[in-house]
């Protein structure tokens, strides 16, 4: 028997995969596009490049659990478009990119995800998370499993002011509420994935 039931990849175009935060994003004014079978919040009305902090729903990022790919604990490796995050000495969580191997276990829907970015990103996260994210302790490419808003989660420091948070799919509505509550007083607002893509493209160009 197949393990395809674990995967959000549907057999036809009718079945659109949806993030558990889709309604929250919609209520916040998101515009959606279907990409790779997912209904994705690509932009928000009135979204500008100027921001103190923003959060973007990236739950559609594929995630795999792979065996035989450990590494230094606490450090995420960038391989292509993916983050390889060691869970144990011989087990890793791969986030994004293409399927890493035929034996990889698709755990995409185990984790919803938010990217938090902007100059106030670290301060925003400090409002609900006790992980030590000071630059000297969590430089870019750091990987931190731990408690996020009192829920089990994981965090990848993607860049100096950009963090990828992963948490249980079922807790996504709660997590969106917590992040919005923390970010809004700091001038934060939700962002679409076009914002992320623009930033990443700039980073690639700079690199």
């Amino acid at each position: 028997m197949s393990l395809a039931f674990l995967s959000p990849v549907a057999a036809d175009d009718v079945a659109i995969a949806r993030s558990p935060m889709e309604r929250m994003a919609k209520a916040a004014g998101a515009e959606f596009e279907v990409r790779d079978g997912w209904n994705v919040a690509v932009r928000y009305a009135g979204e500008t490049a100027e921001r103190t902090v923003a959060w973007a729903d990236v739950s559609h990022l594929r995630k795999w659990e792979v065996e035989g790919q450990g590494g230094e604990f606490g450090v995420a490796r960038r391989e292509g478009d993916a983050w390889v995050c060691p869970l144990t000495s011989d087990r890793a969580l791969v986030i994004g990119g293409a399927e890493p191997s035929p034996t990889a276990l698709d755990v995409t829907c185990n984790y919803a995800a938010l990217t938090i970015l902007g100059p106030q990103a670290r301060e925003t996260i400090a409002r609900f998370c006790a992980l030590d994210l000071r630059p000297q302790h969590a430089p870019p490419h750091s990987f931190r499993p731990g408690s996020i808003a009192r829920q089990p989660g994981m965090l990848v420091v993607e860049a100096e002011d950009r963090f990828l948070l992963l948490f249980g799919w079922a807790t996504a509505e709660y997590m969106w509420t917590v992040v919005a509550d923390a970010a809004t007083p700091l001038g934060g607002r939700p962002a679409g994935i076009e914002t992320i893509e623009t930033i990443e493209a700039t980073e690639d160009t700079d690199a």
């Binding site: 028997m1 197949s2 393990l3 395809a4 039931f5 674990l6 995967s7 959000p8 990849v9 549907a10 057999a11 036809d12 009718v14 079945a15 659109i16 995969a17 949806r18 993030s19 558990p20 309604r23 997912w38 739950s59 659990e65 065996e67 087990r91 276990l105 755990v107 995409t108 829907c109 185990n110 984790y111 301060e123 400090a126 409002r127 609900f128 998370c129 006790a130 992980l131 030590d132 994210l133 000071r134 000297q136 302790h137 808003a149 009192r150 829920q151 249980g168 799919w169 079922a170 807790t171 996504a172 509505e173 709660y174 509420t177 917590v178 509550d181 007083p185």
Partner: protein
């Protein structure tokens, strides 16, 4: 008005006038004033009424330590006026006095009720008749307390920010030592946070949090309350430069408005240019009190008298003498008198000096707690200000919480630090370095060490200060109340009474009298109460010891500790569909679940008559993979799984080492090396932990992945279920091709699914598991396909009716920590002939050989009464013999059914038991087989 001409270093801006109201009357203040300084400058002397006796209380410490000036600001109680800055338009009101602060009817408690209100009087007086306690409680709560909460919920809500901050070094205390420590640690390259209750000057490279109070120490985490933000600061090293707290003296009338600590008087004078009085009597045990007298004199306050408990003059004495002020050595205060405020102070001579009893006939205590007898003539002085200084006790509360030990210092008359835990440092006056230069050096040293540097130099020995006299536990005595604890109105006499009644340790006395339990948290009263305890019991102060310093250090609104108002609820991927369908959504463990959609009975009937669809995404779902996966499960469950064929399902009960049921669920073998395990919704986390724990121990070739949140699951059940499912999949759903307890992989509405043919609700059923991202799509497709067949969504409540009809247990509801598979009527699940050892085997072998005392059975009731879950099964003698675990009205059976634990001899078909429930007794008939489809023909069809 008592505002003085500009004073050097004053903190007010005389060009900026602010206006606020106190009890509705307008008050003017300068920018920089506190509520306390502004009110005092405006002539107010009574700021509050005391907790129990409703005595007048005025400014005492002007440092936010004591309870005397607690007011309500804009409706929020518990604000200390002496440190709260005035803001334009603020509304300040007194607390705890009716009808007003100047005339308080509850003062009668003080005037005529004292003898009826000793410590613990409420425990003794109001216990009978018990039915009146609610009335007593209401009256007592009204009479005591420190204000009332705002009435409207909206007014009670405010936003608190919670900020987690990691630092390399946290310095608590922004005085000379604290700032020096912070600077030094930062210079070493450390990330430093400095907090202080007052204003803090910026320190380069240091995050300085002013008007911020460290509330406690929790294994390295220090919560710091700053306005509307609660910082949670975690640091591997801490420097506490918390200073020392000036202690009041215990004498008759020591709580009158106008009796003020020397530091309080100076703060009023120097920071706010407010004269604390016009004619002062100064009483001290140390030089600082004498220096305050000189400063007051220089500011124009007439010094009527100065009493120094010490026998010998010091430089400070001579400084006063040069001003023409005589100092009465070997004297202290024995009484203060007055009405609205102090008008007279009486001083008395001391025999033996340096810590003797004074002015009366009280015998002195032992153990360095003063010795000597009554002596000396008493002399009175008219005054409107009594400045007292009873010495300075190191503020060790936070250090004690961090694990520091203290010991009583006979010479200084207070407890000092004896040792410190690793990575906790003390600097400045709390460590005995009161001298500014020594404080700075101790701060630098502590900062260097906290940042990981070496001490480099030897620690200064605490500089020998001018000698300090140890005040007597109580001076004067026989008339008037001598307060040891101003917060809780505990007198010296009360402490003695508590000892007489057997509460003869400081911790017991604390609980009985509530001394040290008020807003000052013992800062003003702990030492006094210890001295009294020592005197009355004849113990040394070291033996008496201190009370436990507990957080919070200051009063904090409960809301600030509560966190942001968000509950980490889990919601299934189909949750919004349930909302749209009008589901009655309730908590089920940490999930939000649809209990019903308005009519649970009809929803249950729909499952029998057509089809029902329920969201069961909350089930625990574990993928167990590896060459030893089967053996792993064989070790965890009492039955076998290594012989389960791929594509088949088997029920499993997890038992503990003691053979007790801890969870249940189904196990499906996907392929040779892969099993899909479901657990109960509430047990998912615990089972995952249990599996992980054993896997770590056994080191088997097994991988465990939790898909509880990643997979949605629905149960499609009912006579029409096969047709509905068939419309959405290419799978052959016929009974022959897809048998009961088969598992198949197929697409449903285009989504890859694992379909389990199981029947928790007793009808033909398919449990469909798929990626959560498709939750709504699959739900919608099934509902759409089922519409023509009369499908209904059903919730948790109808599911409970349906499963009860089949006598399927709910672990945790029908079972408890004593339930075994044998007593729960599932002996067939235990395979004692299994070769492999398994968890609980030894215990289950034992249970297999003995008759359980009680068994889980079904029962029916004829009269329509549905007993409460938990109702008692009673035996022939009326004694409790068991309990009802589940009961419902079954619409399809048209009768009440249930499950219960009954004595084993009664666990047989046809037996009757009596159920006692809410004042009535009903007779129930025992049934040991399922109420619905006992042979399982429907299920397997």
């Amino acid at each position: 008005m008592s505002r003085l001409p500009p004073q050097p270093g004053e903190r007010i801006d005389r060009q900026s006038v602010l206006r606020f109201t106190f009890d509705g009357k307008p008050v003017e203040a300068f920018e920089g004033d506190t509520i306390g300084s502004a009110l005092f400058a405006a002539g107010r002397r009574t700021f509050s009424r005391s907790f129990k006796y409703h005595r007048r209380r005025g400014l005492l410490c002007c440092a936010g330590q004591c309870p005397n000036c607690i007011v309500a600001v804009d409706g929020a109680p518990g604000v200390r006026a002496c440190v709260e800055p005035v803001k334009e338009g603020m509304r300040v009101e007194h607390l705890n006095a009716q009808p007003g602060l100047e005339l308080d009817v509850m003062r009668a408690t003080d005037l005529v009720g004292t003898r009826f209100t000793p410590p613990g009087f409420y425990y003794k007086t109001f216990i009978r008749p018990r039915r009146l306690w609610p009335l007593y409680e209401k009256v007592l709560r009204h009479a005591a307390g420190l204000g009332v909460l705002r009435k409207e919920q909206a007014d009670r809500e405010w936003r608190t920010e919670y900020r987690r901050r990691h630092a390399d070094v946290l310095v608590v205390g922004g005085g000379i030592a604290g700032v020096a420590a912070a600077k030094q640690a930062a210079a070493q390259g450390a990330d430093v946070v400095l907090v202080d209750e007052g204003q803090v000057e910026p320190v380069p490279g240091v995050e300085a949090l002013g008007r911020a109070t460290a509330l406690g120490y929790f294994d390295g985490m220090v919560p710091v309350w700053q306005g509307d933000t609660l910082h949670q600061i975690r640091a591997p090293a801490h420097v506490f430069a918390t200073g020392a707290i000036e202690q009041p003296l215990v004498f008759a009338g020591n709580d009158l408005p106008g009796v003020m600590l020397s530091g309080g008087a100076l703060r009023l004078l120097e920071r706010y240019a407010v004269s604390p009085g016009t004619r002062a009597v100064v009483v001290s045990t140390n030089d600082r009190g004498l220096e305050a007298a000189a400063r007051l004199h220089d500011a124009g306050v007439t010094i009527a008298a100065v009493a120094d408990l010490r026998a010998s003059a010091t430089e400070a004495t001579r400084a006063l003498q040069t001003r023409g002020i005589a100092v009465l050595q070997n004297h202290t205060i024995v009484a203060a008198e007055g009405g609205k405020q102090v008008t007279r102070a009486t001083l008395g001579g001391v025999e033996g000096g340096n810590g003797a009893a004074v002015g009366g006939n009280r015998a002195a205590g032992a153990g360095g707690n003063g010795a000597g007898a009554a002596a000396g003539a008493e002399v009175s002085f008219e005054c409107d200000l009594v400045v007292v200084s009873g010495g300075f006790a190191p503020a060790t509360s936070l250090l004690s919480q961090a694990g520091a030990r203290t010991a009583y210092d006979e010479a200084r008359g207070h407890f000092v630090l004896a040792d410190l835990p690793p990575n906790v440092f003390a600097a400045g006056e709390v460590a005995g370095h009161a001298d500014p230069d020594a404080a700075a050096r101790s701060g630098e040293r502590a900062g260097r060490q906290a940042a990981g540097g070496s001490p480099e130099d030897a620690a200064d020995q605490p500089i020998e200060q001018a000698p300090t006299a140890v005040p007597p536990p109580v001076a004067g005595q026989t008339h008037g109340k001598c307060f040891a604890c101003l917060c809780e109105d505990v007198t010296a006499k009360d402490i003695k009474l508590s000892i007489d009644e057997g509460y003869d340790s400081i911790e017991l006395s604390k609980r009985y009298t509530t001394v040290t339990m008020g807003p000052c948290q013992g800062r003003m009263c702990q030492l006094a109460s210890i001295r009294l305890m020592a005197q009355e019991t004849g113990q040394s102060l070291q033996t008496v010891g201190t009370t436990t310093a507990r957080p919070p250090y200051i009063s904090v609104p409960m809301g600030a500790l509560a966190g942001r108002p968000f509950q980490p609820a889990k919601r299934s991927a189909i949750h919004d569909r349930h909302r749209e369908l009008g589901a009655n959504i309730k908590w089920a463990g940490d999930w939000r679940r649809a209990y019903d959609y308005g009519d649970p009975q009809q929803e249950a009937l729909a499952v029998h008559e057509a089809a029902g669809l329920i969201d069961v995404s909350t089930l625990g779902k574990l993928l167990v993979r590896g060459s030893e996966a089967g053996e792993f499960l064989d070790r965890l469950y009492p039955n076998r799984f290594s012989d389960l064929k791929p594509g088949r399902i088997r029920y499993g009960v997890i038992s503990s080492d003691a053979g007790r049921i801890v969870d249940d669920g189904t196990i499906c073998r996907i392929d040779e090396d892969t099993y899909y395990v479901t657990t109960t919704s509430s047990g998912a986390g615990a089972v995952e932990e249990w599996f992980s724990w054993w896997l770590a121990d056994w080191q088997m070739d097994v991988r465990l992945t939790d898909f509880t949140q990643g997979l949605a699951a629905v149960n499609l059940a009912g006579p029409k279920a096969r047709e509905i499912l068939g419309a959405l999949t290419d799978l052959d759903c016929s009974a022959e091709a897809f048998k009961y307890l088969d598992a198949k992989h197929a697409t449903v509405a285009g989504v890859p699914c694992l379909i389990l043919r199981i029947g928790f609700v007793g009808e033909v059923g398919y449990e469909i598991h798929f990626a959560a991202a498709h939750g709504e799509h699959v739900w919608d497709a099934l509902m759409q396909a089922g519409r023509e067949h009369g499908i209904r969504p059903f919730g948790l409540e109808p599911q409970r009716i349906l499963r009860l009809q089949k006598m399927h247990i709910l672990v945790g509801q029908d079972t408890d920590s004593e339930s075994t598979p044998f007593s729960a009527a599932m002996p067939w699940i235990v395979k004692l002939d299994k070769d492999a050892d398994f968890i609980g085997r030894w215990a289950l072998e034992h249970y297999a050989q003995e008759e359980p005392a009680a068994r889980l059975v079904g029962f029916t009731l004829g009269d329509g009464y549905v007993p409460t879950e938990g109702a008692v099964i009673i035996d022939a003698l009326g004694a409790p013999a068991g309990q009802v675990t589940s009961a419902r009205f079954s619409p399809v059976l048209d009768r009440v059914i249930g499950m219960a634990w009954v004595p084993a001899p009664l666990a047989r078909d046809g037996a009757t038991v009596a159920i006692s429930d809410q004042g009535r007794t009903v007779s129930a008939h025992i049934q040991t087989r399922p109420f619905y489809d006992p042979e399982g023909e429907v299920l397997r069809s």
